[in-house]
Structures are given as structure tokens and as C-alpha cells.
Symmetry: C2
Subunit: 528 residues, 2 copies
């Protein structure tokens, strides 16, 4: 068993210069846990940034294989944490053991996915244009292009994924893969979990001889430490999964810096689900069941939770509504992640109750901050009059929205703001008849799901977990999948650089055997 220190991990050293402390909570009971955490001081923030800046000068030159070994070693060290990680994480989040074990697997797989990407090398997007000294009117120079890391990155932990979107989560893995040191601001709801994972990263950095400062973990409550980090001149990009308020505040601060920097904040999404007529007729029971489960999975605390379901009124609607009601009444509430989330949920539900009917309630569960699942029902015209009803309430709630016609459904789709996902339940015949709907939705989201539910984000090369503002602050980006590495890179080109001074990725002999674009042709060949 590892002792929880409650200190800042700044590179390989621990610091606890501040006098202010806080404790995390046993989320299911509301009791304070015994670990005491020091909040980072301004001097500690400064030190972490300086160490990250220095580390970048070394880390950016590590080869793909060296970085891959580092990520693989982090994965191993997380496994080595064993049950202590699972137990503490369950205490701090009230999430069940099975879920946390699954999330640990996902976290490890994400690290291994980026390690594999580094070994394979295509993310460099290496491009070579060979010189043509005889070209007229001007000779063509030799130009070679590849992606490099931006510099030190600040990542913020998400409350709802204490492992997979936290200390060694997606943003950390993609930033480290890109060659960027990471300063991680731990979420104050799971600081002990954060410290354990930080230990794993630190141990991996030591074992693989990475520079001091390639990773730091800082603690704090509220926004002070986070803002100090985002405003620091050595920081070159920011990753966050959190609320609209938090994400937008960081974005606003980042664009006002002397040197503006990119902020990748995933902020919130209502993930609308559309049920088309034939699918409703054939499958309404299965859709009702899947929907109720997706809304209440993990006490509804997913970015991809389906917060709206739209359908057209017709002969089977009443059966469908009755099924959804029955399924929803069988769902269970439970302890939410934090006091703040529970309060927001309760307030959101009150606001919705003022404008919409409650169709069904899930079962109450006696726990601390226990959310009661609520399903609302309304009509398209109410939604149009009260567009704020389309805003996310984080938790186990959703709204059935009845449409009079296909046109009303298309109009509701057109009025959507940016979301992470949109889901369509439809037979092939339905889908063909609703290509206009699919076309509208593809402009509103990062991912369209057909005949599934949006919860469950596959970690793979083809995933887009992102979407137009206000789902994220940068709709050109994804936080899940291999393309997430481009959050933290830019391209640089070298003109007429002698072979001996080129990085191996761009040398004629292609020593790494990577795919490259040579004079417009994609090849793994050596250049003769």
C-alpha cells in the first residue's frame, strides 16, 4: 500500500509549500476521507512551468520508440497500483468497482494505442519535396515537413472519468505522445486517485530516463491554480473536460494572453436522439429499454448522455411512451460525483419542472447526494419558445420531445447548437427517407450514431469525440482516438537542410520505415 502524501509532484520532487489544505470526500457517504492535500502555491505553479519548459528541450528530441516505451511503462505502473487504485477511486467517486476497473483498462489501452502510433510514425505526416536544380524559371529547393510538439501542456482532470480523462487519461497520453511535457491540475474531487496515478507516471519517467519535469501534478480547489497555469508564458496548450463555465473561462483567459494559446475544452452536450417512424413501429420496446439505460448509466454522468429524444407523433407513439415510462421507472438513482454536481442537477431539474411535464421517475436510492432519475416530456413548440431547455443537465435525466411532423423534426434539428453526438434510430428505409435529417445533424456534431446510443465512446483511430461550439471550444479537434495527438502539434519545414542534420524521420534512407509523402506520392521507400 502506497502512502498518500497530498503534495505537489513537481517533476521528480514533492513540494508542499502552501498552508492551505483540503480533503476529498467519500462520495457515497459524504464523509471526509483521511488524506490531506496541500493546494499549490504560485511559486509551485511557477516551478512546475519552468521544469516543464526545461524538460521540453530534452523530451522533444526523444525518438518515437523512446516515447512509446515511456507510455507503455506508465501503463504497466498503473497496473502495478493494483486494488488500492480501484478502492480509493471508488471511494472518491461513488462509481462502482466494475466501472472503475473497466475505466482502468481503457486508460491503459489509450496509452498503448498512442505508443503504437508512435512506433508506426504516420502521425508525423512526413512530407518531402525533392530539389530540382534545373527547374525554370527558378530551381526548386529541397523541402521537408513533419509535425512536432507545441511545448508544455496543461491538462485538467474531469470529475466523471477519474482515470480515462484524468491524470494519465487521453489528453495526457496524446500530449506526451506529441512530445509535450504535461502539468496536470488534479480534480479536487479525486485527488488521492490522482496522486496514485501521478506516482505511476513519475515512476515510469524515472525508469525510462525521461527528463525531470516531463510530468507534474498540482492540487487546488476552485480556479486559482488552473488560471495561473493557463496564463503562464511557458504553457503552449490546454486540455479540459468539464463544464461550459470552466471551459469558457479558460478559453477567454487563453485568447487574452500576450501569446494566445489553443484551449481544447470539451464542455457539454445534450446528445439528441431521433427516433424515426419505422424503427419506432418495429422496435419501440428495445429503443425504450436502451434509452432508459443510456440516460441513467453511471448516474447519467457521461458527456455523451442522451439528454433529448425526439420522435414524430403517430399511431404507435402511445405504446412507445408507455414503454419508455415503464423502463425509466425501473432505473436506479445513486450518489453523484460531488456536492456541486448534485446541486447543479437539482437546480436543473427544478428549472425543467417549471416548463415541462414529468413523464417518469426512476427509483430513489438512499445515498449521499443521491440523484433521482427524472424523465420529462414536452413538445417541439415548447422547446422552440424555451431554447434553454436544450441545455445539458449533467445527471440521470432526459426529455422526450414530441414532433407533429417530419418538418417539425427537421426544424428542431436545424435549431440545435453544437453537440458531441447525435443518434438516429431508424430502419434502412427510415434512414433513406431522412437523409436530410442526417445531413443537418452531420453539421452539428462530431459523431453520428445509427441504431445505438451515444454513451460508450470507442477508443480507436476513427473516433471523433468533439463537436462544434458550445460542445467544445475547438470543433476542429477530438479528445479521443489517435487524431487527438494533433491537438498538441504543429508542422515545421526544413529547406535545404543537409542530410546529416535532418531528423531521422526525414532522411533519404527512411531509417524508421515510416509512410511519407515524397513528391506527392505516399511511400515507405528509401529515397535514392
Amino acid at each position: 500500500m502506497v502512502q498518500i502524501e497530498g503534495k505537489q509532484f513537481i517533476g521528480f520532487d514533492e513540494h508542499a509549500g502552501g498552508t492551505e489544505t483540503f480533503r476529498s470526500t467519500h462520495a457515497a457517504t459524504g464523509e471526509q476521507l483521511n488524506y490531506i492535500f496541500h493546494k499549490a502555491t504560485q511559486a509551485e505553479v511557477e516551478l512546475a512551468c519552468e521544469k516543464a519548459g526545461d524538460a521540453f528541450q530534452v523530451y522533444r528530441k526523444k525518438s518515437g520508440v523512446e516515447k512509446a516505451v515511456f507510455l507503455e511503462t506508465i501503463a504497466k505502473e498503473i497496473e502495478t497500483l493494483g486494488d488500492q487504485l480501484i478502492d480509493i477511486c471508488c471511494q472518491e467517486t461513488a462509481l462502482p468497482k466494475g466501472r472503475i476497473e473497466g475505466e482502468r483498462s481503457r486508460t491503459i489501452n489509450q496509452l498503448l494505442m498512442f505508443a503504437s502510433l508512435l512506433r508506426e510514425g504516420s502521425w508525423l505526416d512526413a512530407r518531402i519535396e525533392l530539389a530540382d536544380p534545373l527547374r525554370t524559371p527558378l530551381p526548386k529547393p529541397d523541402i521537408r515537413y513533419m509535425h512536432v510538439g507545441l511545448g508544455p501542456v496543461v491538462v485538467f482532470g474531469a470529475s466523471n472519468f477519474p482515470l480515462a480523462f484524468s491524470v494519465a487519461g487521453g489528453d495526457t497520453a496524446s500530449a506526451l505522445a506529441a512530445g509535450c511535457p504535461v502539468i496536470f491540475k488534479a480534480h479536487s474531487a479525486h485527488p488521492a486517485t490522482a496522486e496514485l496515478v501521478a506516482r505511476a507516471i513519475r515512476e515510469a519517467a524515472r525508469k525510462t530516463k525521461m527528463p525531470d519535469g516531463v510530468f507534474s501534478l498540482l492540487h487546488g480547489e476552485g480556479s486559482i491554480v488552473g488560471m495561473q497555469l493557463v496564463k503562464h508564458k511557458l504553457i503552449k496548450a490546454v486540455g479540459l473536460t468539464g463544464s461550459f463555465t470552466a471551459g469558457k473561462a479558460l478559453f477567454d483567459a487563453a485568447v487574452k494572453r500576450d501569446q494566445p494559446i489553443p484551449v481544447y475544452a470539451e464542455m457539454g452536450s445534450t446528445n439528441p436522439v431521433f427516433v424515426l417512424p419505422q424503427a419506432m413501429k418495429k422496435n419501440y420496446e428495445a429503443i425504450a429499454k436502451g434509452f432508459a439505460a443510456s440516460v441513467t448509466l453511471g448516474i447519467g454522468q457521461f458527456c455523451t448522455n442522451p439528454g433529448m429524444m425526439m420522435y414524430q407523433r403517430d399511431g404507435v407513439s402511445d405504446n412507445f411512451i408507455a414503454s419508455v415510462k415503464t423502463e425509466f421507472e425501473n432505473t436506479l438513482g445513486g450518489a453523484m460525483l460531488t456536492d456541486t454536481i448534485f446541486k447543479s442537477y437539482t437546480q436543473g431539474i427544478s428549472r425543467h419542472k417549471a416548463e415541462m411535464d414529468v413523464l417518469a421517475l426512476g427509483k430513489e436510492v438512499e445515498m449521499n447526494n443521491s440523484a433521482h432519475p427524472v424523465l420529462f416530456k414536452t413538445t417541439a413548440d415548447v422547446l422552440e419558445r424555451h431554447p434553454q431547455l436544450a441545455e445539458e443537465i449533467f445527471g440521470p435525466t432526459s426529455t422526450l420531445i414530441e414532433m407533429k411532423s417530419k418538418d417539425e423534426m427537421l426544424s428542431a434539428a436545424r435549431n440545435l447548437s453544437g453537440h458531441l453526438t447525435a443518434t438516429v434510430q431508424g430502419t434502412e428505409e427510415d434512414l433513406v427517407a431522412h437523409q436530410d435529417l442526417l445531413d443537418i445533424l452531420s453539421q452539428k456534431v462530431g459523431r453520428i450514431v445509427i441504431n445505438g446510443f451515444p454513451t460508450g465512446v470507442e477508443v480507436c483511430s476513427a473516433m471523433v469525440h468533439g463537436g462544434p461550439f458550445p460542445a467544445t471550444t475547438d470543433g476542429r479537434s477530438t479528445s479521443v482516438g489517435t487524431a487527438a495527438i494533433f491537438r498538441f502539434t504543429r508542422a515545421v519545414c526544413l529547406q535545404n537542410m543537409p542530410q546529416a542534420l535532418l531528423p531521422p524521420e526525414l532522411r533519404d534512407e527512411n531509417p524508421l520505415g515510416i509512410w511519407r509523402l515524397v513528391n506527392g506520392t505516399r511511400t515507405k521507400e528509401t529515397i535514392h
Copy 2:
């Protein structure tokens, strides 16, 4: 000969609703030209945005080949404009005929380069992860990913490239290639040139049956029309090559919108040149000659103009300085592009004279707004005390900065802000001995040039014409080369979409024969 109308080209229609007009100037004489241009009204801005929004719904579904034919037809129509385009452009800019003819070729080649990229299809970055229904603990869904256009784009014309960075220039070509309609705000210094090129685009859009609104041209002086465009909710991205003041103002407006949008502003760069000791010894005469020519090429009005040259004091420095002086004294001044640019140049030269010695003056030329080339000389410590001396003065001027040692040179390199380019003149031995310098520079710029000069930007797949702030507002991007298409795209993924409803790019049979990443393997194969 085409009649210049001086109206807004809004889609296929012309509008001149406003009463305010302006005229452009014969730049070499200062006389007003006979064409009268109406400034766009707010209603015309609104109409152009609405048409662009509507056009996007059609244009985004055009195939790569259809868009390629559109771009190729634009290129042909520009050729068809013939000498009238060259003559009017020379009048409005005072740039010589040979230069404008060369720029026309470049503009046409850029359009053809993007057409070729569209036919080839790799920019889509198509990624397919096939379903695995038997995977445990959860089945793997089918997920398919590709890039799509962001939506209507506003592009601003650059004063200094009236063709290649103007109406049918790089940003327009890459936005149209990405599937985005373009609203072009003409530069008020070359509105007649802009109108002619807009006619070519309009004609090409008609001939290739592109939707009304795929392209519009608006006129205005100052920032009113531009700001109205950037703040319009239908606009999804902005491209500009211009001053820091203009670019930063657009960036600030864009990030304050209800929905922030990306701004790609290329703003300014001093493009430092470093001369290493062995190269100076062996090549000082050639370096002096090339440098003087690069500083004064096109009256110094290039984004990549070398505004600083740094070298270490040693035995040959005096010979080198004498050579640079002689070469510079043989350079010619001439008419600048606009009154404003000439005024800024004159003011910049006065500010520099207060802090630095004049080493050499070029030859004066009797013309309107005629810039006199000025070469300054100073030392590293002066630059360190007055960092504003490193800011760009747009025009035929540069500064020799003498360093006492390699350490002083490294320190000056570390203090650089973001630039488009850095150039190093060195023998292979020099370069090996200065890998630390190259390493610093690669973090400061988009392109490193070895033994050349930064003016002259090769249009190809491997070019990066961009760089960290303040060279641009988005250092992750390039405005030249095929990678510029990613300014105007984002990825979308489709989960479990039936084959019949997938876009051809992502269908199993790969009807377009493009490179795709299938389950992590790059291939052009059909999926069975």
C-alpha cells in the same frame, strides 16, 4: 476589355446599394484611377453571408472531382483575363509586369495544386474501423471518419500579393477545396484587380454549375465591412494576410463571438538570418549580394523579407560589412504599394534611426511613395535593451546585428518571438557546430532555410508558411501548400451507418480509390 463595374459581386448578382464610394490609385504616380467602387452596405454583407450559408448546403456535397473542375476552370478563366489583368494590377500596385505575370502563374498553379489534391483524396484522412460483434466485453461498432468543410469562410486580400494572396489566392483556393463557400473582402488598394479575378471565379462557378453564393466579393475601406463579416453568425472561419493590428483585431473579435471561430491571420515577421563563421569566411561576398537582393526585392514588401541579419564578430567581419554596404548601396528604391504602407515605412525608419546607425542607403528613385532602402547596423546589447527593434518594418530595410560570441547569438535566438522563417548561412561544419542554434530556431518559426534567403515561398505539399504568434494567430497552420486545406476542415465520424448511406469516400468498395486507414493499416484496397 472588360468594364470595371465597382459593385459587390454577391453570388451571381451585382449590388451597389450604398452611396459611399472610393477609387483606387495609380500607385507609381499617385493619381486616382477612373474606376469607382461602392462600399458594401450592412444589408449587402448580410445577403452575401446568407447566400454563402445556403450555397454551403449544396457545395459541401460536391464531389472532389466536381470541386477540382471548378478550381481548374477558375484557373482557365484567370488566364482568359489576359493582359487587362496584368495592366490593371501593375497600375494599382506599382509592381513590375514580370512580377505580376509570375504571380499570376503562381495563383494558377495553386488552384491546380488543390484540384490535384481533390482528385487524389488523401486530404480527407479517411479512417475506417470495422465492427467486431464478437469482441468482449463489448462488441466493437463500425466507425468511419473523414474531414469535411467548416462552412462559409471570409478571406481578406493582402496588399502585397494582389493575385496569389488575394481574390483567387491561397486561402480562397484551400477554402473552396475544403468545400467552403468564400466571401472575399477585396483590398481597397487593388479593387479593380480584385473585380477582374472575381469575374473569373463567377464565370467558373456558372460554367461548372456551382451554387449561387459559393463566392462573393465585397468592397470597403477600413475595417467596417470586414468586422461585420467576421462577426456574422454564418461565418465559420477567417483567413487574412496583413498587419499585426488588422490580424489581432479580427482575432479578438472572432474569439468574443457567441460562437468563437478560428482566425488564420498571417501578421508579420522579421525573418532573421544567421551567418555562421565558416560560411562568412568562404562566402561573404555571395551572402552579402544575396542578402541585399532579398531585402530589397519587390521594394521589400514580402512577408518573408529578412529584417535582421546576425553574425559573430571575427577577422572577416569587416570585409563582410564592406561587401554588404557596397551591395546595398547598389539596390534601388521605388514606389510602395499604398500611402499607408509608405507612411508606416517612413515612421519605422525614423524610430530605428533614433537607436541605430545607418550602414548603407540604396539608390533613391523618383516615384510616388518611393521607399529609400536603408540598412542599419547595431550590436546584440542594443537589441536586448530595445526589443522593439526586432519588430517588422514592412519595406526595403534590414539590420545587421553584430554578436560578440556564439553564446550571444544563441541568447538572441532564444529571445526571438515567433517568425515565419529563420535562415542560417553555414558550411556543413558550421551547421554541425551550431545544432543548438538550429534547435532553438525550429521552435520559433514555421520554416528553416539553409544557405538561401527566405523570400520565395515554394508552393508544394511540404511548405509551412506560418509560425508561432505573433507571426500568425494560429501557429498550428500554414497558408501555403496543400496542408492549408486543414484550416477549413474538421473531422466527423459515422457510427454503424449503413453502406448505402455512407459518402463514397467511406464505402467498403472504395469507389474513389483513395488511401484510407482501415483498422490501422494504410491501404487503397476495397473492404471485403
